[in-house]
Symmetry: C2
Subunit: 287 residues, 2 copies
Amino acid sequence: MDTLETRELRYFMAVAEELHFGRAAERLGMAQPPLSRAIQQLERRLGVSLLKRNRRGVSLTGAGEVLLHEGRAALDAITAAARRTRRAGGADGPGGPRNRLVLAVKAGASHELLHKLLDAYAAEPDAAEIEVLPSGTCEQEGMLRDGRADVALMHAPFNSLAGFDSEELMTEGQIAILPAGHPLAAHETLSLADVSDIPELPLARWSRHGTYPPGPGPEIHDQTQLAQLIALGRTVAVFPDSARAWLWAEHTAVPLTDAPSVVTHIAWPAHSRLPALAGLIRTATRL
Amino acid sequence: MDTLETRELRYFMAVAEELHFGRAAERLGMAQPPLSRAIQQLERRLGVSLLKRNRRGVSLTGAGEVLLHEGRAALDAITAAARRTRRAGGADGPGGPRNRLVLAVKAGASHELLHKLLDAYAAEPDAAEIEVLPSGTCEQEGMLRDGRADVALMHAPFNSLAGFDSEELMTEGQIAILPAGHPLAAHETLSLADVSDIPELPLARWSRHGTYPPGPGPEIHDQTQLAQLIALGRTVAVFPDSARAWLWAEHTAVPLTDAPSVVTHIAWPAHSRLPALAGLIRTATRL
DNA sequence: CACTGTCATACTCTGCAGGTATCACTGAGT
DNA sequence: ACTCAGTGATACCTGCAGAGTATGACAGTG
């Protein structure tokens, strides 16, 4: 059979990520031997070898890599099903299923657009309740995939719209945000090259799931930290034009001529059938 | 926890589709009581009521409908993971993972395009092996979703591209295929209205998962049957222009002026990472 | 008012997921 | 060369959960 229980998937994902049975077992809150057996059994059932046991740790085979990717998608779909079902629960009031949408937005981005959208939608007849869920850097995609959110504001080219349906809402240029006193702040416009290699102003490194990319810049994980570092003359940042909304007095914004445009979309899982979603999208595209 | 074992999902889907515990249990090859208990337990775990037990059959609650949709997507993702992993198995030859792609095409459609594509791709250096999988009416979507296929030729507006990545390959008009002797066959062009309500030529009804839509037309499930019925003067059909390739002598094709254009796309699951896929897509878009 | 169809409950049993103890093997250090 | 640490596999045992059988509760029907 091709049953593939979710338990087996969870187990395999843990091992594939840790590449170590002991640590994987610990992460799963179980002992190592049953984990080993479960994986063996999974391999036998699929008729495929997933891991190369090298006496010194473990590595993935080609089939293992495939299962790592496909399995993640499948697990996301499962937790999404659970979450969305729970959220729809207690429903069936006289006005149909309880109307509620979870909207994921990158924390701090598109304030103005978001405000307009929420106001316009709230004015609609029989508008659903919108819960705004602030998301970390580029995390909206995962939130849609695993059901934490029903719909999201995404920003191409930073977010990937692959696998979602979407409508374009807004296009804007990008600006460099510099310390007010910096020589470059006097320019009318700048290019990406101008701001990307300033020795005394290295680009900040954003936290991604707790780790930071390598480089000389300071480590940050929210916009306030970044704003402060810019104000102190320690770094420079590139942002969509709408970031002007939160600039400090110590900041100067200079348009970038050659930075790619940022396109804000409203996006949702392609198979979504939430009745309230259509109304929100209609409102959004009319803005 | 929000574990949601696939077994539970399968059980629920069966009940939600049959709306009858007994039949669902039979379909699952088990007795009815354990099924009842499993569903109850699922409802308790999710903290949500999924089914209304009406003493006379069963009906879905709002949350139940959500789980029916989301669960189908999740189950598809799981079987896709299993299938694709199996297919990648035995891999890891010296030339990297075994290169093989399964391409789903609507049986009989786009013959010429398909031929050109396969020839052009076969000429590429390190081309993967392409397995062509004929699919029933509009079934390519399901095949991509549950992993029976890796990539598909789809025809908008008949197929929905929602949830897939795709590239446009070809646009064509549509034609009416009439019995050669019919009065309308003498026209230069026709409109949809002209052919949709001819009393003596009712439109055929295609099989969809074994059932047929209601209507006066004959029931068919493959193109040859249809061709024969047209030749016999019993029905009329509307097809993309490329269907001219298989017309019989007893058929006459007349262009339709107001039928929507048919756009052929090559489409694949948005999260796909198959190395061979990129080459095929590149070849396809160059045609 | 018996009867049928339907889902729920009670009870039992078995298979398997999980734990503990231990083995087998390899590479490193002295 | 020998020991030791680290890692995954094996052997064996246990308890629970998932499956079966028998039966109950209830509603609609003729």
